[in-house]
């Protein structure tokens, strides 16, 4: 029964991945990645890691993909596909010319080489456990199954991997600050901006940052 579920989820995973690589519209690529992530969460459940599967669905397929959809809607990326790229690459405007299309074919060949090497490395290790179903994860003394539950993961995170946990949280803080710094509104893009009325908000706001109203375009920014 588990093999049936494995093959259903594996088809979803590979179809999602192929869709991400091949689909022309970035919006559909994001949706294909959502299919990929949900199928992958099913595989995690088959591997008895319930907590990671739940995090995958909630954080990845929920929050991160919503961020992607917002940025795709904001930037409005124009469609492009591999075949179109190969056809149009001979025109001088697209830069690179036939060299670029040759490089793209080389990219596909390199990907196939990576696949072969990974398969050799992973399946040719000679580890006997690779061919088995996995170690027994429940003790035979009648205890409840604890492997992969939130209590098990939380216990590990707060005892043995406390340092990794703290470093990860600090990394998230740095990334949040970096995202705000990178994506904020900068002064100097539009030169002919009228000086607006000074509001009390300008006193608490740092220079060269924008407000929500300016970001949606209802009010011209002031520098």
């Amino acid at each position: 029964m588990s093999s049936v579920f494995f093959f259903i989820a594996a088809i979803g995973v590979i179809a999602g991945a192929v869709g991400v690589v091949l689909l022309r519209d970035p919006f559909f690529a994001v949706l294909a990645l959502v299919v990929h992530l949900v199928s992958l969460a099913g595989l995690f459940l088959l591997l008895r890691s319930q907590f990671v599967a739940a995090v995958q669905v909630v954080v990845y397929a929920g929050a991160v993909m919503v961020l992607y959809v917002f940025v795709v809607a904001y930037v409005g990326g124009e469609g492009e596909a591999i075949g179109e790229r190969l056809r149009s690459s001979s025109s001088p405007a697209s830069g690179g010319g036939p060299v670029a299309s040759g490089l793209r074919g080389l990219g596909a060949v390199l990907g196939a080489a990576v696949l072969v090497e990974l398969l050799i490395a992973l399946l040719g290790t000679g580890l006997e456990a690779v061919g088995h179903e996995g170690a027994p994860f429940s003790s035979s003394q009648g205890e409840v199954h604890t492997f992969g539950t939130p209590a098990y993961i939380g216990n590990l995170l707060l005892t043995r991997f406390l340092l990794a946990f703290e470093i990860a949280s600090f990394l998230l803080l740095i990334a949040a600050v970096g995202g705000v710094v990178l994506a904020r509104r900068r002064g100097g893009i539009e030169e002919d901006e009228p000086e607006g009325v000074l509001t009390p908000l300008d006193l608490v706001r740092p220079r060269r940052t924008g407000t929500m109203a300016e970001a949606v375009g209802t009010q011209r920014g002031r520098r």
Binding site: A17, H36, L43, G77, L123, L156, F161, A183
Partner: protein, 99 residues
């Protein structure tokens, strides 16, 4: 299902992501393909965790998810900054750092 099946699937997903990073031009799709590569690594980590029966691989997979979220945050911030400066959203056109 033996662990080898999961490892083979993770290798396939990783290589598909690598092909996408090398072939696609849109930086948004390049970021999506990076996610694919990280997910292939995650699947291998979880499979090894199941193989040995301890939770270290799952913790490592959670850390990889954290790093992926940070990478998404910074990458999307850079794309929004590119868009605001009216630069082309195309990794082939952005060649000012190239020699």
């Amino acid at each position: 299902m033996s662990i080898a099946w999961y490892l083979a699937l993770s290798a396939i997903v990783f290589s598909l992501g690598a092909v996408g990073v090398m072939v696609r031009r849109n930086p948004l799709v390049v970021l999506l393909c990076l996610e694919l590569m990280l997910n292939g690594g995650n699947l291998a980590l979880i499979a090894f965790s199941r193989m040995w029966g301890n939770g270290d691989g799952q913790i490592l997979a959670l850390v990889v998810m954290t790093v992926a979220a940070c990478e998404v945050c910074i990458g999307l911030g850079m794309i929004v900054a590119l868009y605001r400066r009216r630069l082309p959203i195309d990794v082939d056109e952005l060649r000012e750092l190239q020699g």
